[in-house]
């Protein structure tokens, strides 16, 4: 029997290995992700060897609510993992996807999510070549969890990573801060507010390819997801044993993110982003890199936001508009709205 896409729910039999599971896979996943490798219906994908070094990244995706302005868990599961891979300076080619579904989850929502995943992958020029589906009893998951793995190859011979960062490096941010986290917050139960906020969830591989092609000297790229810019910079400062100083006035932010952060007492430096990157590059190439980034639509609002210092190893600080300096610490726990 064909799944009922209007009123149907995920049932235990959809993961049971029987006919219902096959029907769901055929009519949903295979149809949406349609590609040659997947249509061979094997439990694995056999792929041609890459010409450059092979790069792999994996990520599990959970988000509440599952749908938010500017995206959903499906598009997020594609963008998040592709970005992790691309930030090494790699070109993503393939994705795998594993779904954990909760019994009782609406099939209509599942179809929406899978369709949005397929669109996100197609837009990024990447095929979803193998996958898996499991169903757990009601109450044992939150609708749907998606784990994706991205596979791709390096675009050049450069080594990039935290170990390459040195004192003097400039830090560039590809666009406005906090859009994803605040968009998700705007539809979270109990906090709902209306706003023009839209998640920045997007795949950055094209921007990254342009950056790497024109400025191969980039030392390191990271995406400020959970814990925001503060978390990434603190991690790098302590891992690499360097100091980092930001310039508050240079950090781009939309008025809506600013407004929502004011209302709920949140620091935008702690808020998650899903379509922005931080690039560390030698000072001599910083202006060129900024120009390259600004020429790309995904980097139109890019800015040089800080620099790496030899002094104060392990510390991140920020110059304030009044000329003062303050520390930028890690976030403790979840960012909770506060009243005082």
């Amino acid at each position: 029997m064909k799944p009922d896409w209007t009123h149907g729910k995920v049932e235990m039999q959809h993961g049971g290995g029987g006919r219902a599971m096959t029907l769901l896979i055929e009519s949903l996943f295979l149809a949406a992700f349609a590609n040659e490798t997947l249509s061979e219906r094997n439990d694995q994908a056999v792929l041609p060897p890459p010409s450059g070094r092979l790069v792999v990244a994996t990520d599990s995706h959970v988000v509440s609510p599952l749908f938010f302005p500017g995206g959903d868990i499906g598009s997020l599961a594609v963008h998040g993992t592709l970005n992790d891979l691309a930030l090494a300076g790699a070109r993503p080619q393939y994705l795998t996807a594993a779904f954990i579904l909760e019994e009782g989850f609406a099939l209509a929502d599942l179809r929406r999510i899978v369709t949005s995943m397929a669109t996100a992958a197609r837009d990024a020029g990447v095929s979803i070549v193998t996958g898996d589906t499991k169903v757990v009893e009601r109450g044992k998951a939150d609708g749907v969890f998606i784990t994706t793995t991205a596979i791709g190859e390096m675009l050049d011979a450069q080594v990039r990573g935290v170990a390459s960062i040195c004192a003097g490096d400039k830090i560039l941010l590809s666009g406005t801060l906090g859009d994803h986290g605040m968009a998700v917050l705007s539809c979270r139960e109990g906090l709902q507010f209306e706003s023009p906020l839209v998640s920045d969830s997007q795949s950055l591989h094209d921007l990254i390819a342009c950056m790497v092609a024109k400025v191969p000297q980039i030392h390191c790229m990271r995406d400020p997801t959970r814990g925001g810019v503060a978390a990434v910079l603190n991690e790098i400062a302590s891992q690499r044993g360097v100091g980092i100083r930001l310039n508050e006035a240079a950090i781009p932010m939309t008025p809506a993110v600013q407004g929502a952060c004011e209302l709920f007492g949140l620091d935008p430096l702690f808020v998650a982003n899903e379509g922005k990157l931080l690039a560390f590059c030698p000072p001599a190439q910083a202006e060129l890199l900024l120009t390259v980034m600004r020429q790309h639509p995904q980097g139109a609002q890019a800015a040089i936001v800080g620099e790496v210092l030899a002094q104060a190893p392990g510390q991140v600080s920020m110059i304030t508009p009044l000329g003062g300096e303050r520390r930028v610490d890690w976030l403790s726990g979840d960012p909770l709205p506060r009243i005082c």
Binding site: A312, T320, L322, G324, R326, D329, S332, R338, C340
Partner: protein
């Protein structure tokens, strides 16, 4: 004008700082306390402490309701949350605060208690209406600013005869704590020369309640907004008062504060609350007439009367210097526990609990 950007202008701020430098008299000491965490936050977030002249010392006061709530009251809230059928609602700030046994509302939630964060007390009322079979308890904290909304909610609960909504009241008062800081504490500390008075507490109570404090303790008080230019202007006005030997109550925050305050808010508070004989402040001890209690006319909506939860006195770490820090006798850096083991992730004392506490602000923002 949006009342935010204008009061954060970097150039005006730099000019006010220059003026502060020019106004201090050499070798004179200016020890000022900003009573409120909001001012502490504005100072540290903008990196102001290092920009002030050496003669000016800012002492961080106890004006953070999360910090000064004794552990015993947090334990009571956790106990309430664990009662069958109870949904405990509170503001986001309270969820992480540890009680006496190291547990917190978030940990209680992980263990199965139904704890929910709300943005407004009206959301808790709405929840009670939606789930009549559950008991919704609102864990109310805050100074005079946060008390009027709680009063309105209690009036509404009574008018609607809501059977499943109660308030666990922990509202505290600013002027008695100010007076305690100035004279009632058993901590040796150098004298204070001025107070930066509360912004939004004053929007509710006005500036008149500070008159006896300024008079009795011969201390200048400048009520100021929470934006960075407001704080700098207040510091400048305090310096002028000290230089001129005045001890007056001045109002820098006239755009939101009138001398008599918000009379309507005061009236709803008076209708619903009465003074407690005394209340314990974490770090300051027991202060007479320093907190609010729900009037007996509202007893059915008072969680302390509805449920059988008794305070179990918590034991503070004896090495913790919070009382001295709150009095301005010590800097957070003087405390042996500061940074190790006491951090925002593992707060031992009151001042590290909320991001507005003196120690937490030092830890987070001081380079």
């Amino acid at each position: 004008m949006n009342y935010l950007d204008e009061f954060r202008d970097g150039n005006l701020g730099k000019q006010l700082l220059d003026k502060i430098h020019a106004a201090v008299q050499p070798k004179k000491q200016y020890r000022f306390m900003e009573f409120c965490g909001g001012h502490t936050h504005a100072l540290f977030r903008n990196g102001i402490p290092a920009l002030l002249p050496a003669e000016v010392t800012m002492v961080h006061g106890p004006g953070c309701p999360v910090c000064v709530l004794p552990m015993a009251r947090i334990d009571m809230a956790i106990e309430l949350a664990r009662l069958p059928d109870v949904i405990l609602c509170s503001y986001g700030d309270m969820l992480r605060v540890p009680g006496a046994r190291g547990t917190s509302l978030l940990k209680a939630r992980a263990e199965g208690a139904d704890v929910r964060m709300v943005y407004a007390i009206s959301d808790a009322l709405a929840l009670a209406r939606k789930l009549p079979a559950r008991q919704v308890v609102f864990f109310a904290i805050g100074f005079e600013t946060t008390t009027p909304p709680t009063a309105l909610a209690l009036l509404e609960a009574r008018a609607a005869s809501l059977q499943n909504f109660t308030v666990f009241c922990n509202h505290v008062l600013t002027p008695p704590a100010m007076a305690a800081i100035l004279g009632g504490l058993e901590v040796e500390a150098p004298p204070l020369h001025g107070l930066v008075g509360p912004a939004h507490v004053s929007a509710v109570i006005g500036t008149e309640p500070y008159l006896p404090i300024a008079r009795d303790w011969r201390i200048p008080i400048v009520v100021a907004g929470f934006e960075v230019l407001d704080v700098l202007q207040a510091i400048l006005q305090l310096i002028h008062q000290v230089n001129e030997g005045r001890a007056e109550v001045e109002n820098e925050y006239t755009r939101a504060v009138v001398p008599a305050g918000n009379l309507k808010a005061q009236q709803v508070m008076a209708e619903v609350f009465t003074l407690r004989e005394r209340f314990e402040w974490r770090g300051l001890g027991w202060i007479p007439h320093s907190a609010m209690q729900i009037r007996s006319a509202f007893a059915p909506w008072d969680a302390e009367q509805r449920f059988d939860v008794k305070p179990v006195p918590g034991k503070e770490n004896p090495a913790c210097d919070c009382p001295a820090v709150l009095r301005g006798a010590k800097s957070p850096l003087d405390c042996k526990l500061f940074g190790h083991p006491c951090t925002p992730d593992n707060p031992i004392g009151a001042c590290m609990v909320s991001s507005e506490g003196a120690c937490a602000a030092h830890y987070r923002y001081q380079t």
